[in-house]
């Protein structure tokens, strides 16, 4: 790599590819070749840089110049100015959102799982190898390391599952290793069901080999010879890169028969999901790999004893695996020195919603929510007020402003009524209605409940109906009590965690934003103007010139003239009778003077 005087890194993660970064890549190759610079300048396709909202992103080394929101048309100028004349293209140095600040975005991060994302070309195994890739695997075989010893190192590192539950990874491997069976399986959960999260996708797209290396190590530790990566069908780029990476690893002898002449065999296959959230749950995922409906099955028996095809199986999340090679290379002690007492290492979050720096970030455990939202995330756009952060997706909860100083780790997040989840983190501002958000998640769980157990199938539906009543203005205070009652039955009675946690979004919003619920049922008001049935149209009398257009288009005769003449106006203003208004919005569309508002 050192023969090149400059490297142009083009992000080809999903966000940037959606904005044509693959064409940007092609154009770079084209213009670099046109200038005859192909021996001096290397154009590299990489995974996600993290700051997705400002994509497509192009980074030029050795300076490390970052260009934001590039278009295919910008490429010629970058080549001519930056690469030929050595002058930066100032116009692309600024982010599209003036409030976003990339320096702050990166300064508090620490990258372990994302170490290679945006740094290497995911299509080239050589680049992974050049960044210590397959070193951990190679060392295991060259030193003939005992599997039990590796497992105890993982245990010592304190690594806990990043898929949501936070179960200690070393312990899980230990269980499966101790069960006697000739056939065992290693599975990777890349179903990433939490809507609004894209951590696992970015790792698979940006650094697929790390998953292959880690799963092979896991296979060696528990005595498995076959692995499956279960990827959701919505991730075609991830699937493509992962399968190319698996082929390369096989060609290089890192997986397959007799790896490093050790006599150990291990191979990997990809299985595609088909759009069922519950298939992220471990037992459902295994049924799905078996080709069946993804219904969860009761535990015990745990997968470590009886999992995929009835054989002992371990399942870990993508991000969990991405930590394994680093732990083995740098040592358990080093890893355990990062983070808090009970949550070691880092966590990747997909920060989204109403925040300036939308993107992918990785922080040491113990970082506060405030640091993420306001320092890394750069605060709330358009000068709006922060309301809450949602973590844990449909199983999680909302963290209000009063708890912004909560230090992120598994136990703290549960204590404030949310959970770590897989890493989705959605910021909400004053315009987000918390009842509507609870309803949004419930609609999701109603859709996704597999229907096998009654508490979940019926309970989520009943709760959704109650929330619909509350948001359409027919709810009562008794409904709030009913929500809490159903929630308890769900928690205690459901077969899997989908149902057990389905009420969390409601319970946490009711706990922290009860006043909004009460406002919906008692005052029939939605302060954010989100719940359409509760909206009321009204006329700002001082803006009304009295033309009467609104009154003419009103199908319900709800608009009449008053006696009030606004200062500077000639005719008396109109007003809307809320009891007659049918909320069609025709008046507001007609008024040319912006005198009609919806609140």
């Amino acid at each position: 790599m050192s023969n090149y005087r400059a490297h142009v890194l083009v992000c080809c993660g999903t966000g940037c590819t959606s904005s044509n970064s693959h064409i940007i890549m092609e154009n770079f190759s084209k213009f670099v070749a046109e200038k005859g610079l192909e021996k001096e300048i290397d154009v590299v396709k990489t995974g996600c840089f993290g700051l997705c909202a400002e994509g497509p992103i192009v980074v030029i080394y050795p300076e490390g110049t970052m260009y934001y929101r590039c278009t295919p048309e910008d490429v010629e100028e970058i080549v001519n100015e930056h690469l030929v004349k050595g002058r930066k293209v100032e116009r692309l140095l600024k982010t599209g959102n003036p409030d976003s600040n990339p320096t702050d975005f990166y300064s508090k991060q620490m990258r372990i799982a994302l170490r290679n994302c945006g740094r290497i070309n995911p299509d080239k195994i050589e680049e992974y190898i050049a960044h210590d890739g397959y070193q951990a695997l190679c060392k295991i075989f060259s030193t003939k390391r005992d599997p039990a010893e590796i497992i105890s190192e993982i245990k010592e590192s304190g690594l806990r599952g990043r898929g949501g539950g936070g179960f200690p990874t070393g312990m899980k491997w230990d269980f499966a290793a101790k069960v006697q069976n000739d056939t065992k399986y290693v599975c990777c959960n890349a179903d990433e069901g939490d809507p609004g999260a894209f951590m696992d996708r970015s790792i698979l797209e940006g650094d697929p080999h790390t998953i292959i290396e880690a799963m092979t190590i896991a296979g060696y530790c528990i005595g498995a010879h076959q692995g499956y990566v279960y990827v959701r069908a919505e991730y075609p780029i991830a699937v493509e890169r992962l399968s190319a990476a698996i082929d390369q690893a096989r060609e290089h002898g890192f997986i397959g028969q007799n790896i490093f002449n050790s006599g150990f065999d291990f191979d990997l296959d990809i299985r595609l999901g088909a759009g069922a959230f519950v298939c992220g749950e471990e037992t459902a995922l295994m049924r799905s790999i078996e080709g069946k409906r993804g219904n969860p099955t009761p535990r015990p028996p745990f997968p470590a004893v009886k999992g995929l095809f009835g054989k002992p199986t371990i399942l870990n999340n993508v991000e969990t695996y991405a930590n394994i090679p680093v732990i083995l290379n740098k040592g358990a002690k080093w890893f355990a020195s990062v983070g808090t007492e009970k949550s070691k290492g880092t966590k990747v979050f997909a920060l989204g919603g109403k925040v300036n720096n939308v993107g992918l970030l990785e922080i040491p455990m113990g970082t506060t929510v405030r640091e993420i939202v306001f320092d890394i995330g750069g605060g709330i756009p358009d000068g709006k007020k922060f309301k809450a952060v949602q973590t844990g997706g449909p199983s999680g909860g909302c963290i209000p402003a009063s708890l912004l100083d909560t230090a992120i780790d598994y136990d703290n997040l549960v204590a404030v009524g949310s959970m770590m989840g897989s890493g989705g983190m959605i910021v909400m501002d004053e315009d987000t209605c918390m009842v509507d958000i609870a309803k949004f998640f419930l609609e999701f769980t109603v859709d996704e409940s597999c229907g096998k157990c009654a508490p979940c199938r019926i309970g989520t539906k009943r709760m959704y109906e109650i929330l619909t009543r509350i948001t359409d203005g027919t709810g009562t205070l008794d409904d709030l009590q009913a929500l809490e009652d159903v929630a308890v039955s769900l928690k205690n009675g459901s077969l899997c965690a989908l149902g057990q946690t389905a009420a969390n979004p409601i319970l946490s919003t009711m706990k922290h934003f009860r006043d909004e619920y009460v406002e919906h049922v008692v005052d029939k008001k939605c302060r954010c103007g989100v719940c359409k049935d509760l909206l009321q149209y009204s006329i700002i009398k001082d803006s009304c010139i009295g033309c009467g257009m609104c009154s003419k288009v009103c199908p319900a005769d709800a608009i009449t003239r008053t006696d009030y003449i606004a200062p500077g106006k000639k005719l008396a203003a109109f007003e809307i009778d809320p009891s007659k208004c049918v909320k069609c919005g025709a008046c507001m569309e007609t008024c040319k003077f912006k005198a009609i508002v919806k609140k």
Binding site: G55, A276, F440
Partner: protein
């Protein structure tokens, strides 16, 4: 970009190839077979389900059970231009519901339906992983990000022109 239309004969030959690859493998090959069959036909009509069941030696009821469980499998054909609005949390918070409402209004059909001339269909999904661009709309493989409802009519007009309607 529109979906490349295969002739019925081409579809049948391609399906045969897929079925012979998985023949006799039973349940464990069912998902992969269905995924590839749907790629060929765009959806999974009953005759295709029957053929899959025969080839894998599982019951048609079983095949139907799997199809109806997973939202990715479709029993109805999609439009030539499939509008798919992301209703994942990141997009929802940024107003993707309003996008969906506007598209329904402009095309005159509801989410889940296809226009009579089978040119357009609307559906929603939960996160395509491009949350940085929220709110996101997919039209077949084209991705539109950071959209507002005002931009919808122009997008629809563009595809209508392409589709000659």
């Amino acid at each position: 970009m529109s979906i490349i239309k295969l002739t019925p004969e081409e579809q049948a030959t391609k399906l045969e190839a897929v079925l012979s690859k998985y023949k006799g493998q039973g349940q464990k090959a069912l998902m992969s077979t269905l995924q590839q069959a749907q790629e060929i036909y765009g959806y999974l009509p009953l005759p295709v389900q029957r053929k899959v069941a025969d080839a894998l030696d599982v019951s048609v009821a079983n095949v139907y059970g799997v199809i109806s469980f997973y939202s990715f499998f479709s029993l109805k054909p999609k439009g030539e231009y499939a509008f798919n609005v992301c209703l994942g949390t990141a997009c929802y918070v940024k107003g993707s519901q309003a996008l969906l409402d506007k598209i329904e209004e402009s095309l005159g059909i509801k989410s889940g339906d296809v226009t009579e001339d089978t040119k357009f269909s609307i559906s929603s999904c939960r996160c395509v992983g491009a949350c940085g661009l929220a709110p996101v709309l997919l039209v077949n493989d084209d991705v539109y990000g950071r959209l507002t409802p005002d931009e919808i009519p122009a997008i629809i007009a563009k595809y209508k022109e392409e589709a000659n309607v």
